[in-house]
Structure formats: structure tokens, C-alpha cells
């Protein structure tokens, strides 16, 4: 039932664009499941990690149905995935102990359109949702989210600038330059090298959608990091066209990994989690640089009139700021802790995987979700919608 509604509401509110926010969250679930299957992580780590990600149901109602909130419960909504039941032990119990509330997790997938439909129909069953910066801004504009109560949630425990009015970061991830060190003459330093077909021959991979990629195009064109926003879409697209004959696009995280495995590409702009997996399975032959990466975050949202009340939802988010939980997630999948304090807890030999380490952050650009959701001035489209059109246009021309 829940899924039907999800689809329906996506259509009711077509303007609510997920902005690809949730794709990364889904990919994380996939990565964890793969690693679990290979025996690289224990089921317990897996479950704890997904817990920290806010992605696994603690006590899912059977059949994946909507968790209906009762008194004394808090419903956290995320992107589902395998091994759902065990989450409760890992994450639900601690919060239950500290709050006295029962934690119920719903793995339906908190599509922005669904959150909006719930609030507008006055039938809110969710307390805390895992979305992305784009969705957060759209929902905030639509007035269906509660402002984050920063007297309960500690702003200092959130990587700036991902402390939005109606949402705050629960983890971070980056688009980075990954390369197969055996097939490039020397390590590429940044996107200018990525665009240099003569010095670095071979095919490259970029994402099918423009989010994160246009920033990369502009850096390749020599635009300084601090001047990337507002993005000049035409300039970015023109830069893409320069190398497009040598570009293979990826649609999903696993596809980006596959392109490296099969040797079809020598370089690519990937999610750092996928680059990390490639790094491991190739014994370091495939690696990446943080230089000129684009860092962004997953977001907690609280819908208006949430059943458990504002305080309980904020308490939950606050408890999820615990660095220890975020480290467990990081160790399992490489997702960056959203709490800067957690950066120090990362073991030295693991710091190269963490996008949130100060030395890594210094090399990267922070994605600006505000720009994506702003009006482009063309046919009433947002910058996000317009850039998608132009990106597809360039790729297929």
C-alpha cells in the first residue's frame, strides 16, 4: 500500500523533484548488502551502519507497510533495504533507553512528494525522514517541514553549511576524481587533467545527471572554487561537450564501479564510497583524489504535525549526532560523519576515506543546494530542471 501512495504523490506534486538526493542513500544500502554478502562486514556492523545512516527500519511492520504511529512511538523513515529487522537492536534500543519512546522504522523511502502529501492531507505518520538538501529546500519552501530546533539539536555537531533551517546533515558524501593508476601516465591532479585527453588518453565516466557534474565542468574550465555558484549552465555544458566523445555516463553507483572493473574507463567522477570499494578490490590500483571534489550531505527532516511531537523528533536527531554511531557507519561504508567532532575519532589509517577530514574538506567544494532550487528564469523551470535538460541535450548531441 505504502508504495502505491508513494508513486501517486510523486505525480500529484511533480514539482517536488528529488534532485537525486535519495540516489546516494539507496546506493549505500546496496553497497552494504554487497559487502555483507561477501563477508567483509558482519551482520551486526551492517545493521548498525544502516541504523546510523537512518536507513533501516528498527521494527518494521510486516510486509513493508506504513508504520502507523501509536502513542509513545517515534517513526523514522528511510530507504529500506535488506536485513531490516536487526536494526532495532542496534539503534532503536539506545534511543528507547534514553527517551522511553519506542522506535519504529519505516523503510518505505521518504519521497519529498509523499511528505508533502501527508502534511497537506493532515495524515502525518512520520516523525523523522532521511532526505537530501534539494528535497529539504523544496519542502521548506512548500512550508511542510518543521524548523530544526537548534536548542536541542547541536548546530556545532553539524558540518557547515549543512545546517539548514528545516533540515540538518546526517552524513556527508563527495563526488571525487577516481582513476586507474595503471592506465594513466601519472596521477591526475584535478579536473583540468581529467579534461586533458592527450596527456591522459582513454575513456572517462561522468554521472548521467548534472548535479555535482556541472561544478566539475566549471573547475575544469578554470573557474575558481569560490566562484562556481551561481553556476553558468551553458559554460558547464560547453565544457562537457569538449570531451563528450570520450565520456561514458553512469546511472547507478554499481554501474560506475563496473565501468572501472571492466576496464572501459580510466578515470571517472564517482561517489567516494564507490571509489573506496574499487580501491579495496583492486589493491589500491584504482584510487582517487579529494582535490576539487564536490561534497554534499544526507539530511534529516521533520514533517509538520508529526505524531510523536516536535520534541521527540528533535531528541532523536540529537541522539543520532553521537560521533560513535557515525563512526560505525563510516567504518562500514565510508559515509562521512556529519559531526565534525567525529572526524578526530576516525583511525589515522582510515582518514583518507573520510570526506569530512579537515585536510580533505579543504580541497573540496561544498554543494550549494540553494542554487539548484532557485528559479532559472527560463520557462518557469528551476535551475535543477533546466540543467537536467541541457545536460541530456549535450550528452546526446
Amino acid at each position: 500500500m505504502s508504495l502505491l501512495k508513494t508513486h501517486y504523490e510523486k505525480d500529484l506534486y511533480p514539482e517536488i523533484e528529488e534532485a537525486g538526493d535519495s540516489d546516494f542513500a539507496r546506493d549505500c544500502v546496496e553497497i552494504a548488502a554487497e559487502r555483507l554478502e561477501k563477508g567483509e562486514i558482519s551482520r551486526r556492523t551492517f545493521v548498525t551502519a544502516l541504523t546510523a545512516l537512518g536507513m533501516l527500519p528498527a521494527a518494521m511492520t510486516l510486509g513493508g507497510g506504513d508504520a502507523a504511529a501509536d502513542d509513545g512511538e517515534i517513526v523514522v523513515v528511510n530507504w529500506g533495504g535488506p536485513a531490516v529487522n536487526a536494526y532495532y537492536n542496534a539503534f532503536g534500543v539506545p534511543f528507547e533507553k534514553s527517551s522511553g519512546l519506542k522506535v519504529v522504522i519505516d523503510g518505505t523511502g521518504p519521497l519529498g512528494s509523499k511528505i508533502r502529501a501527508m502534511v497537506e492531507s493532515g495524515a502525518v505518520t512520520w516523525d523523522v525522514c532521511d532526505t537530501g538538501p534539494g528535497t529539504t529546500l523544496v519542502l521548506q519552501k512548500a512550508g511542510v517541514l518543521q524548523d530544526i530546533d537548534y536548542s536541542i539539536v547541536d548546530r556545532a555537531k553539524i558540518l557547515k553549511p549543512f545546517d539548514y533551517v528545516a533540515g540538518c546533515a546526517n552524513y556527508t558524501f563527495s563526488y571525487i576524481l577516481a582513476y586507474n593508476s595503471e592506465r594513466v601516465p601519472q596521477a591526475p591532479k584535478g579536473w583540468a587533467d581529467f579534461w586533458n585527453l592527450e596527456a591522459f588518453p582513454g575513456d572517462r565516466t561522468l554521472r548521467k545527471q548534472p548535479v555535482g557534474m556541472m561544478e566539475i565542468c566549471l573547475m575544469a574550465a578554470g573557474v575558481p572554487k569560490e566562484e562556481i555558484y551561481p553556476i553558468d549552465i551553458d559554460k558547464a555544458v560547453a565544457k562537457l561537450k569538449e570531451i563528450k566523445d570520450n565520456v561514458i555516463v553512469w546511472g547507478s553507483g554499481s554501474q560506475s564501479q563496473e565501468l572501472f572493473r571492466s576496464g572501459e574507463v580510466v578515470m571517472g567522477a564517482l561517489w567516494h564510497t564507490r571509489a573506496n570499494l574499487l580501491h579495496k578490490e583492486s589493491d589500491g590500483k584504482t584510487t582517487w583524489t579529494w582535490n576539487e571534489g564536490v561534497v554534499t550531505a544526507g539530511m534529516w527532516n521533520v514533517p509538520k504535525d508529526n505524531p510523536a511531537g516536535t520534541k521527540a523528533a528533535m531528541d532523536f536527531i540529537a541522539s543520532a549526532q553521537d560521533p560513535a554511531q557515525q563512526i560505525v557507519l563510516f567504518e562500514a561504508m565510508g559515509n562521512g560523519p556529519a559531526n565534525p567532532a567525529a572526524a578526530k575519532l576516525v583511525p589515522p589509517d582510515q582518514q583518507y576515506i573520510d570526506p569530512g577530514q579537515p585536510q580533505n574538506l579543504a580541497l573540496q567544494v561544498f554543494q550549494n543546494a540553494d542554487w539548484y532550487e532557485a528559479d532559472s528564469g527560463v520557462r518557469g523551470l528551476t535551475n535543477d530542471a533546466l540543467s537536467r535538460e541541457k545536460w541530456i541535450d549535450a550528452l546526446s548531441s
Binding site: K10, D11, P14, E15, I16, E17, D203, K208, Q209, I248, V249, G251, S262, G263, E264, A385, R388, E389, I392, D393, L395, S396, S397
Partner: protein, 278 residues
């Protein structure tokens, strides 16, 4: 037949017709309707067809690929069908077998096999490199070449079967007579056999062109996001940019293009025969 009996037979027809009306035609009409109401009432979505170069290019790509596919498929299919008329029973059975096997095999399996064969690290490139014919891998997939190879492969049985079925009706004695009168083999073929096989060719052209227009799977897989045909862009509008108005407008135009093609060809052949319904 009395009225009661007629009514009884209509009762047999009714369930299927009603099912189709309610669960198929109604949703189709709804989609056509959405194209003039989403996001606001009017022809704004259709105006984009004129205004936006992207849409011009997508339609042009679609027609170009369809035309090339149709041309290659019909010529190659004709050769197979003609050969089937020339050879003996046994060889003909084998030929037909190859055609039917392709026809019945899952379209996804075929697309998968082509990806495997054509990619830069695929069998064809590796094989050619090993025997030293090429030094650099050729780009055979994730571009128009790959899409056309896949589409021709999919459509070939749709061309061979109607052409062959038409050819079985051609009286070979006409050819002998022409030869007896001193016409060269090529001339006999050109002025007698080819015109006689025209209905088969037209049927093949219709089938291949119409199915190519709205073809989704093969371009999506072998185009690798780089070849934007109309079906793929409908998916993008629907799934990625969530623009229902645009998606339904393009769907309506695609449907219209198909109907137009059929209407044009209906003047030359019996369409029901082409689709095997007579």
C-alpha cells in the same frame, strides 16, 4: 440469425471490448488529455515542439535511426527471403529456423548479448585486436552504431517473414517465361520479380518502421544514455525531470506519428493483412 442469438454472441465479445475500453483506451485518452492540461490548460506543451531545439533534435535522431534501420533491415531481410525461395526444402527449414529463433528469443537477452559483443572490452574488439586487424578498440556501442546494430537485429524477422510469405505466392513460371523470351537474369528479377514482391516489401517497411518509431529497450541499453530517441526522452521527462505535461505531449506526438505512418501506407496495402489479422 435472430436478435436473441445475436445478443448472445455480442455477450461473448463484450468482456474483451469492455476490458480494453476501460483499462486501455481510457488511460490512453487520459494521457492525451494531460498533454493539454499539465501544468496549465492550453497548447503550451505542443508549442515547445516548435520552440526547443532539443526536441527538434530528438525527433530528427528518431527518424534518422528509424529510416536507416528500416532500409538495412528490409534489404537484408529481402535477401534472406529470396534465398529461401531459391534453396531446397532442407536448407529452407534451417534458414527459417534461424529467423524464428531470433524472432522468439527474449529482446533483453539479445540486447545483453550485443552489449557483451560490442563494448570496447567486448568480444569483437578483443578478437579483432588479437588477430591484428585493429590496434585501437572501435566504438561500437553507447552510440548510434550500437543502437542501429541492435535494432536491425531485432527487426530482421519482422522483415523476413512478410516478404517471404508474399514471395511464396509468386508464380515462378513467370520468371522462366521472361528468361525464355531472352531477358537477362538481372532484368528478369528487376522488372518481374521485384514488382511482384512489392506488397511484401511494403508490409516489411511498415512493420519495421512503426515498431522502430516507438522502440525503447534496445536504444536504452545499447545507446548508453548517449542516443536520445523519443521513447527514451519520454522516460526521462517522466522519471527524471518529472514533467508530465512534456512526457504526455511527446507520447501523444509519437502515437500520432505512428498513426500517420499507418494512414499513409494504408493506401497501398491492407494493413490488417500486414499485422497478420486477416
Amino acid at each position: 440469425m435472430n436478435a436473441a442469438l445475436r445478443l448472445r454472441y455480442w455477450a461473448l465479445i463484450a468482456p474483451a471490448i469492455l476490458l480494453l475500453l476501460i483499462f486501455y483506451i481510457f488511460p490512453l485518452v487520459q494521457v492525451l488529455w494531460l498533454s493539454v492540461t499539465e501544468p496549465v490548460f492550453g497548447l503550451d506543451n505542443y508549442a515547445e515542439l516548435w520552440d526547443r531545439p532539443l526536441l527538434h533534435r530528438i525527433w530528427w535522431t528518431t527518424f534518422r535511426i528509424c529510416a536507416i534501420t528500416t532500409a538495412i533491415t528490409v534489404v537484408a531481410g529481402y535477401a534472406v527471403a529470396y534465398a529461401m525461395r531459391l534453396v531446397g526444402e532442407q536448407q529452407r527449414t534451417w534458414m527459417l529456423f534461424c529467423v524464428l529463433l531470433t524472432f522468439w528469443l527474449s529482446v533483453l537477452v539479445r540486447a545483453f548479448a550485443w552489449v557483451m559483443l560490442l563494448r570496447t572490452e567486448g568480444m569483437i574488439n578483443v578478437g579483432l585486436q588479437e588477430i591484428g586487424l585493429i590496434t585501437q578498440p572501435m566504438r561500437l556501442v553507447r552510440n548510434e552504431i550500437g543502437v542501429i546494430i541492435g535494432m536491425v537485429h531485432f527487426m530482421l524477422p519482422l522483415a523476413v517473414l512478410p516478404i517471404y510469405s508474399n514471395m511464396t505466392g509468386i508464380n515462378m513460371r513467370l520468371m522462366s517465361a521472361a528468361r525464355g523470351l531472352g531477358a537477362s537474369p538481372i532484368r528478369t528479377f528487376w522488372s518481374i520479380y521485384l514488382p511482384l514482391s512489392k506488397p511484401g516489401i511494403i508490409a516489411a517497411v511498415i512493420l519495421v518502421f512503426v515498431f522502430s518509431l516507438g522502440f525503447f529497450i534496445t536504444p536504452a541499453i545499447l545507446g548508453g544514455g548517449r542516443v536520445m530517441m523519443i521513447s527514451e526522452y519520454i522516460r526521462v521527462s517522466f522519471e527524471e525531470t518529472l514533467r508530465w505535461g512534456q512526457a504526455t505531449m511527446l507520447a501523444s506526438t509519437l502515437l500520432f506519428a505512428v498513426l500517420l505512418t499507418l494512414a499513409v501506407f494504408a493506401r497501398f496495402v491492407d494493413l490488417k493483412k500486414v499485422f497478420g489479422a486477416r
